[in-house]
């Protein structure tokens, strides 16, 4: 066949999504395929935009705190933690040490439940449903303790600007300790079931590779970065809250003995070992928790007026189970913030899909996509819809729009 003639041969384009049974959340993929091999991969996020920031900019910080709980369906404290830290910097609030420890305890319980949830999803993507059920059953222990401490399973409502809303009393320690002991016993079993299994090793080793350089250049965060050997972790690099008092270091795949390959297997290793790390952190926090109040200002009307008076901007960061989560807030002396921007951890990790997916087989797509633990409802922040048409705007388009608006205002 001569050049330019439409050919019925490869590459074929295989679209997956925006909604697809193999994907847990809405995102669209386009693959150029040659046989079974993905030659070129592309993706389009932005299918789950809900306008939460817009809602927040019409509400006061105490109201927003409860909206941040609902940005993500898995992380119930990550976003409220980061948001509260931003507000606390603007209003110049010193959070009581006791409250800082409670925040860390709940954040680490969140990491445990999120990583176990991920482990279950990964097993399910590999077709290993027995392991999926097991992982989700043991995850319930962490959910039960979270429920016991905060009152609810998913939307904890624990964080308040300047502290926490519920205390952890000495009477609660035995129940929490029992759960931690359970996880300590369980960890050996989980490592054995996941990492010694021949099928999992065959499917995950050397699959979805992300090199150290790629991980660094793409600014990946969290376990995705650490599995490729990039030792970054906000808890260690910029200690905040009670993390400064703790002796922790980022977990790399070498902790399990092997080399760093940056494959799906390494991501399993890192997440499972982080569960063990979180158990240690919670234990230390329970032991060393200082006494004191749980709130900077228990009288909420006073807190509201302090927030209203404040002016300035700040960035609040937290190491979520998926990596760094960042909230930018600007206040200008009104009830509601002048600006609120959320950068969820998955946003930084999505781009690593491209180098991971290219060159792999179509059947490996679900596990590779899941391996960065994407959370799209957190991530999607911009979608442009005009009439029935929906499109993405490039920098040039936005610049053009801006120029047009200036002209319009000038009336020429």
């Amino acid at each position: 066949m001569s050049e330019g003639t439409p050919t019925k041969k490869a590459p074929y384009v295989v679209p997956i999504g925006p909604i697809h049974p193999a994907l847990k959340e809405p995102v669209q993929f386009l693959f150029d395929m040659e046989g079974e091999v993905v030659k070129k991969a592309d993706f389009a996020p932005g299918q789950a935009h809900r306008g939460i920031e817009w809602m927040g900019m019409r509400r006061n910080p105490i109201q927003i705190i409860h909206m941040t709980d609902r940005i993500c369906g898995i992380c119930g404290v990550t976003h409220s933690f980061a948001f509260a830290r931003a507000i606390e910097q603007i209003v110049d609030i010193e959070v009581p040490a006791h409250a800082e420890y409670i925040r860390v305890i709940i954040a680490e319980f969140e990491r445990i439940q999120s990583h176990l949830l991920w482990a279950g999803v990964a097993a399910h993507e590999l077709g290993f449903d027995t392991l999926f059920y097991l992982a989700w059953r043991v995850r319930e222990e962490a959910m039960d303790v979270i429920e016991y401490i905060t009152g609810n399973r998913v939307n904890y409502g624990l964080i308040q600007v300047g502290g926490v809303r519920r205390d952890i009393t000495p009477e609660q320690h035995p129940t929490i300790q029992k759960c931690l002991d359970g996880y300590r016993d369980l960890l050996g079993k989980m490592l054995n079931l996941f990492l010694k299994d021949t099928t999992i090793a065959i499917r995950c080793k050397d699959c979805g590779l992300l090199s150290f350089e790629e991980a660094r250049n793409l600014c990946t965060v969290g376990p995705t970065a650490r599995a490729s050997g990039v030792p970054k972790d906000v808890r260690v690099d910029y200690p905040y809250s009670a993390y400064g008092d703790l002796d922790i270091s980022p977990i790399l795949p070498t902790a399990y003995g092997g080399d760093i390959n940056g494959d799906v297997y390494d991501r399993i290793v890192v997440r499972l070992l982080e569960v063990a790390q979180s158990v240690e952190i919670i234990e230390t926090c329970l032991k060393e928790m200082p006494e004191g109040p749980i709130l900077w200002e228990p009288k909420l009307p006073k807190l509201l007026s302090a927030c209203k008076k404040a002016q300035g901007e700040a960035v609040g960061r937290h190491e979520a189970p998926r990596g760094e989560c960042l909230h930018y807030v600007a206040m200008d002396g009104h009830e509601a913030p002048a600006m609120w921007k959320v950068k969820a951890s998955s946003y930084s990790n999505l781009h690593s899909w491209i180098p991971m997916l290219e060159g792999e087989q179509l059947a490996d797509v679900p596990i590779i996509v899941a391996s960065i633990d994407p959370c799209l409802s957190c991530t999607d922040r911009v979608a442009v819809i005009r009439g029935a048409k929906r499109d993405l705007m490039t920098k040039e388009d936005l610049h053009q729009l801006s120029v047009e608006k200036t002209r319009r205002i000038q009336g020429c």
């Binding site: 509400r59 006061n60 105490i62 109201q63 927003i64 705190i65 409860h66 909206m67 709980d69 609902r70 290993f128 027995t130 392991l131 097991l134 059953r137 319930e140 039960d144 429920e147 016991y148 905060t150 009152g151 609810n152 939307n155 409502g157 809303r165 519920r166 079993k189 054995n192 079931l193 010694k196 299994d197 021949t198 099928t199 909420l300 009307p301 509201l304």
Partner: protein, 133 residues
Amino acid sequence: MALPMIREIFAQVFKRPATNPFPARFLPPSVTEFLKKVGAGEATINPPVATPPNFRGKIVYDRDGCIGCNLCIRVCPAHAIEFIPETKRIRIYVAQCIFCSQCNDICPKGVLTMSPEFLLATEDRFAESQIVE
């Protein structure tokens, strides 16, 4: 071939399921019919897992203690509370409430509390059960 899961599977065969079957121990042919029967007292429900202490369920409002200060409305993230000027009291739309209990925290009279009640689904968001006043 290493299959460490095999032992786990055999052990599981002798354990009780972790899931609490709700609302019936065995799946009825029609859940709606079953619930109707429960309402008529002809069948019994298999109880849900108990709620923890501090659980935030349907809101409870003691209107006699309320002073109509409006503070709860200021902090409600869901705009679920409405002020009624004639009676100087409030009305809460449960269908809109997100169960954060922030209004409970700010109320100077402590007349708002969260009950453990959570089976609240209906088809009508303005049904009697969905409005607290």
